[in-house]
Subunit: 413 residues, 2 copies
């Protein structure tokens, strides 16, 4: 089956935002075994959107349209799709109630234009929006199915995964199964070399690598007549990947994040963790707290941006700060040990670095970050130099810190 993506939004045409929805949906559709030949970006313009949709429904089995479902005047996707497929819009009491409930929950009243969102094309399947007011829709025509999704990724992604994916699975005659081997601490280029022979020789299952910040994900995807058969094709390849990457594999579970793997490992070892952050300013703690139930292992964390704070809350020696500077292996080590003491935690990770854009020197360039991890008083410090802007440097540092925590508790915990 063929799928075609249509992303709607003037901000995409103006280049105000990068089309991450397109990449996300393309990746998911490939996982589902759908062949993708075209992606189109078009603005909130009825004529051009109509032209694009008419062409798409003619040449593709499934059309996924993303964006333009909001309450505002220039949101035309639903109306245009209904017109192209010759369907009437009718008020849906069900959707109206959902929107009312959404606003009641916030103690707010729905604005008049929110009711526009309760109009639904006849015969459409409604996809509930748990993160906003615009419902998604599935319109079924003779030889094509059109799936309308909201534009904001925070609304689109959960809706797609929870409601559109099961629908799409039912359409495809073949079963497509995939398993992702998630690796941390190995650069993508190296990971690719380590699996190139497999990628070149494998056709079913196929193998593809995806670079994430500080991680590489290797997806193994098999097609077969049944789930069992597909899984049987995947199993030996995953086993081989685990053999090649060893401890660098942090999970093969769907939806398992690096922070989740770290939290699970801490729980398994009965260890608690705390964080002392300078340049990352709380991002490491925030990632750990992403994990539901983290309270078993995480109680407190410290953001010590100034030298005074490093001294007062983490007992970093003033002489150390003076002699080696805030961005040094010595400071990082004392931050970790101090955080473990103050936070009464078995494990402590500390980060101090120069995120930029200013503050770099020839000896301490922008991107330099020292990360320390202490486990029951034993401390290890690593030096990293990351590239990219302030935000990229900080994200990369947090990913490396999670990897370092994992390595340290594996070895000493």
């Amino acid at each position: 089956m063929t799928v075609e993506l249509v992303c709607v939004g003037t901000e995409l045409l103006l280049g105000n935002i990068v089309n991450t929805n397109g990449a996300y949906l393309a990746e998911k559709c490939a996982e589902l075994g759908l062949s993708s030949y075209f992606q189109t970006v078009v603005g909130d313009n009825e004529e051009r959107l109509g032209e694009t949709l008419s062409q798409a429904v003619k040449r593709s089995d499934i059309v996924i349209v993303c964006g333009g479902l909001g309450p505002t005047e220039d949101d035309l996707t639903k109306e245009t799709a209904a017109r192209v497929l010759g369907k009437e819009l009718k008020l849906s009491e069900q959707v109206k109630e959902t929107i009312e409930a959404y606003f009641q929950k916030r103690g707010r009243k729905a604005a008049q234009n929110n009711w526009k969102q309760a109009m639904v094309p006849e015969g459409a399947l409604v996809l509930e929006n748990k993160n906003g007011t615009a419902p998604g829709l599935i319109l079924e025509a003779q030889d094509c199915r059109v799936i309308l999704l909201p534009g904001p990724p925070g609304e689109m992604i959960p809706m797609f995964e929870e409601q559109a994916v099961p629908y799409l699975r039912r359409l495809s005659p073949e079963v497509i199964c995939s398993k992702t081997v998630k690796i941390c601490g190995i650069p993508e280029s190296q990971a690719e070399i380590m699996v190139k022979d497999l990628i070149d020789t494998q056709t079913n299952p196929t193998i593809a690598t995806y670079a994430k910040t500080g991680e590489v994900h290797i997806r193994v995807t098999a097609r077969a007549s049944g789930k069992k058969e597909a899984q049987a094709l995947i199993k030996p390849v995953v086993k081989e990947l685990k053999r090649r990457f060893g401890h660098a594999v942090y999970s093969t579970k769907a939806g398992c994040t690096l922070e989740q793997a770290v939290v699970e490992l801490l729980k398994k070892k009965g260890l608690t963790v705390t964080c002392a952050e300078s340049c990352t300013g709380g991002m490491l703690s925030a990632r750990l707290v992403n994990v539901p139930g983290v309270s078993d292992v995480y109680r407190t964390g410290f953001v010590t941006y100034s030298n005074e704070a490093k001294h007062e809350f983490l007992k970093v020696k003033k002489s150390t700060l003076k002699k080696h500077g805030a961005v040094s292996a010595e400071t990082a080590a004392q931050m970790a040990l101090g955080a473990a003491r103050s936070g009464k935690a078995d494990v402590a990770a500390a980060l101090t670095g120069i995120a930029g854009p200013e503050g770099g020197t020839s000896k301490k360039p922008v991107g330099l970050v020292y990360i320390a991890c202490s486990v029951r008083g034993k401390v290890i410090v690593k030096r990293y130099v990351f590239t990219g802007n302030r935000q990229k440097v900080r994200e990369a540092a947090v990913a490396s810190a999670l990897t370092l925590i994992r390595d340290c508790i594996r070895c000493y915990g």
Copy 2:
């Protein structure tokens, strides 16, 4: 004049990479005053690429094609473009020499398939590639110009800026300027109603609203013969928007974020800030630390996830935690006041809530967050109920906290 982008590459259709070339080219074209109505992604397939290009040259004045100029068999862009425009391919001695020079410089010999890259459609302008072997090309047909660029950003961007931009400037009579009015604390549907009349009546400049987490951005875009003229069209509309939204407008500066506006306001008022976070686990501090030079106003922050940590580091009374619970207005207020004291800061923001997915009750549902802000001992607490998954609730809470900090220092700072 209208421009249309065609990005060629299977890796885009599979979602292996995000289409940053598309966003880059779209933004540059908008700056050049070119109207962009369509962007298409298509694979290295002669038939579908041909179909896409035929349609593009019919409906647009300029077509920019990116990718598929490499030396390999499946790079078909040049051949397909030549066929669609009815042009013969001829060997270009000039290009042949450039490629020879490129390899000589690297002490390598050109592979046989590199000569494929020396074949040029008759009458085409050649754009030199200083960072690779694939030259860019400009093909001029009756009512359309087709610009072929290599896919790798490191080759495409310099070629576009140095050689394509001057060419496009000569074509385009108009410039486009836009200004974005950034608003916090007002939901999109409400903001939309407040500007509906302007959106409906304005054609130049145009007005569009964009929803962000906890923010609404209103972009005003004008076309004119010159930059001055365009800015003159924008000015009165921006003034009117500022009048309507008043203090809710946090910035009209390009690239200015809400956290940046808050940090600038703190600097202006000579105030320092700290954060005490429970459910957000450091996200608020992390957003403030996004801002370069934040060290003037931010020294330290507290992540107090457990009750013990709230008591130990923020001096929240055990009786308060016992009587009202960790997620309560009383606890939030004590967290803020305690953080201001421990962190020696003028301003303190505190967040405590139920991010979910577990832990909700009928009285305290998932999504309930209390946010407190204290300014020099004066504390305000607000109650919010956010929807969405754990991550979404936390992001919305952080945006609301930044808005609350801003309001509080505006009123009491």
